[in-house]
Amino acid sequence: MAEFVLEMTNIYKSFSENCVLSDVNLSLQKGEIRALIGENGAGKSTLMNILGGVLNADSGSLFIAGEEVLICNPSAAKDLGIAFIHQELTLVNDLTVSENLFLGSEIRKKSGLLNINEMCRQSREVLKRLQVDLEPKTMVRSLDASYKQIVEIAKAIRSNARIIIMDEPTTALSNVEIENLFKVMRTLKDQGVSIIFISHKLQEVLTICDTYSILKDGVLVASGNFEEDKLTEAEMARLMVNVKRQEAFRSDDKEIGEIILEVEDYSLRKHFSNIDFSVRRGEILGFTGLLGDGRSELFQSIFGALKGATGTIRLNGKALNIRSTKDALASGIGYVPRNRKENGIIKDLSITQNLTITALTNFKHKLLLNHKREKQACDLHKNNLRIKMKNGKELITCLSGGNQQKVILGRWLEADPAILILDNPTQGVDVGAKQDIYSIIFELSMRGVSIIVLSNEANEVIRLCDRIHVMYHGSIAGELTHENASEESIMLLATGAGECATRNIA
């Protein structure tokens, strides 16, 4: 019988009258990687916040290494060897790796000055334990996303964490970076550290995790061992999803019209060069590649949010000069940005206000806004986009990630653009909401809206798009159609292994 490093039994928690966790059990053995999965709002974060000492359970018990404990605040959790790595990293960009590792627990000499050498030595030891080659004096700012995650893990290990909670660590990582992270996770597992891994990417879960716990509406619906149960991705999704939802299907018999947007010889120093492409009416065009391939910058330039790009853009055959996002909106181009929290939601405004902000002119009567019409629009989108919410007057921050994304999508639907650019539209969105967003995309394209989807998930663009452009180092490395695209062919182009990829920028 293996020893349990953690047992949570009969956990209950409710906010006001909403019961978010009811009778949840979770256990963790030494050196086990357990997947904690479920839709947004299923209670994963609440459960982990209870373990991390951020929230207190209404009832239930917690055992660490067989002893019952009370975790009433985050520092108590830390003392018990529990480390919580949040989705938003807590590293200080302007400090070095070792300064970050020792932040708040610096080693001092007798004189009271910092003992930098000792801290660097210990940092090197920790990094060696994780088998990563990283110099402690590197600035964190200069590290790529996966190494930042690894520094965060190193920080946990340095403070002797035995249980590490990782909340969607891979959302901002490219495939290569994810492999890096997984390597470190396996090393830790071999050293007897236990990990709770929260992710929406079921494929990853199957790759890295030994066991699983699935939450649905605050109830543990399944848990077990992947090897014994032979659980597949589809079965997992079925267990997680609330209502039985129809999978969104692309329809092949839709009409693709004339060329609507043409981009020629479009360049922006340091980001992309000599981009040529065109979109037709009702077409779904995909752009994919590795992180930092310049596709976000490309479309932010087209949308007028980035300045300085050269080249020609033609809309319906006429040359277009977009100098601001307002010009883009006026020309019928919409853009749903990536990183919802930074670029999408306006946190002090209500759900309704977030929804109507782009097309606010439509809600104006003479000088004043018509609040009633705004409310009607909100109710309409609530139904059409299946937004789970109580009252449009609530702040948008009350919604879960998937529902926030739908509101931001609705913001642009209200503006009725002819071309809609979606940058990572399903980032941090649960399985159910993902299907909803896919259906909306298909429906829009049936209505003749041209849609450009940017995504770093190959299977997403394959599933959605009629044509796919793969980018590598700021250039279009190749074009694939829905029929001949595969994850392998995309990967080949995205990593620069394809034959066209030689013309990258200097």
Binding site: N343, I346, D348, L349, Q353, L368, L369
Partner: protein, 329 residues
């Protein structure tokens, strides 16, 4: 079950507190004033005095609420007022005798409003086109505006003898209510409507809350900010008209000192957040009255004159401390 009820109760209380804390603070101090100094405090004369004395700061604080809600700050409003007031008095005096007094007043008002809006535009342009933080820009213009005005006035003050102009702020409606109070109340109502019921108002709060997201929603955030500072300049010009009319003079050295601080304090007590996106006009209205009450009470109670500012400062910080405690939960 009992626990659940407690939680609900606390949540709704928090909600009320978050939205109306300034009102609660105001009525607390108001009641305290009645209890402590009821006889002297609760006279029509004294109440009208408080309102009149704070209407100038009040008009500025309304604009400041928009500035802070848009994520900015304007330290130059006192200097803007001095510069605008200087122009007004200069026009009044140089044209007096040449044109009829009423034409003279019209030209002076026009000159003042143009000046105010222009100064606001200068701030706005430096912030949006020069990409300099508002704090730095207005710290600079604060010095420039006042210093240039002092130079024009050769360090001294200037008086007007135009009695019609002086009537703008000194006439009393029904012989009781001084006009500045009406200006302040009317502007409060107008600014409240602008903040809640116009596109511009919505954009101001959106810009302050998340500038990047607002820009990516197809909104020209630079124009929003530019208009916000110009609106501030316009309101400062109105305040300058009231100030010069009431005093019949302007002195670039001694007029409008620390107005920016009082205006910021009123907005912040009213619930405006220095990080932008938050701040109600109604809150600022009560913020202005709260500061006015505090000033008045300290005079009535007889706090030593040099300690008045210390008391005021303490109460401002305490008021905001109380709000923060509850809203952050």
């Amino acid at each position: 079950m009992k626990k659940l009820k407690d939680l609900n109760y606390r949540e709704s209380w928090n909600n009320i507190w978050a939205n109306y804390s300034v009102g609660v603070i105001f009525f607390f101090i108001f009641t305290l004033s009645i209890v402590v100094k009821g006889k002297h405090f609760l006279t029509l004369n004294n109440i009208i005095n408080i309102l009149r004395n704070n209407s100038i700061i009040g008009i500025i604080a309304l604009g400041m609420t928009f500035i802070i809600a848009s994520g900015g700050i304007d330290l130059s409003v006192g200097s803007q007022l001095v510069a605008t007031g200087t122009i007004i008095i200069l026009i009044l005096e140089s044209l007096s005798g040449l044109v009829p007094p009423l034409v003279c007043i019209a030209l002076a008002l026009l000159g003042g409003l143009t000046m105010g809006i222009s100064l606001g535009f200068v701030n706005g342009l430096l912030i949006t086109q020069g990409r300099i933080p508002p704090f730095i820009v207005t710290l600079g213009t604060m010095n420039v505006f006042r210093s240039v005005s002092q130079h024009f006035m050769r360090g001294g003050g200037f008086t007007t003898r135009n009695t019609d102009y002086i009537g703008i702020a000194n006439y009393k409606l029904f012989g009781v209510i001084p006009l500045p109070i009406l200006y302040f109340v009317a502007l409060t109502v107008i600014m409240h409507v602008v903040s809640k019921h116009t596109r511009f108002g919505r954009f101001v709060y959106a810009t302050g809350s998340n500038e990047k997201a607002t820009k990516l929603s197809g909104i020209n955030v630079n124009r929003v900010k530019l208009f916000t500072y110009a609106l501030m300049g316009f309101l400062v010009a109105l305040a300058a008209i009231v100030e010069t009319s009431r005093m019949g003079s302007i002195n670039p050295t001694s007029s409008a000192n620390y107005y920016e601080m009082d205006a910021i304090a009123a907005a912040v007590i009213g619930g405006a957040s220095m990080s932008g996106g938050k701040g109600l006009i109604v809150g600022t209205f009560f913020g202005v009255l709260t500061i006015g009450l505090i000033n008045n009470m300290m005079t009535l109670v007889g706090v030593p004159p040099f300690l008045v500012s210390a008391m005021k400062g303490t109460i401002i910080v305490l008021a905001v401390l109380l709000q923060k405690k509850e809203t952050e939960q």
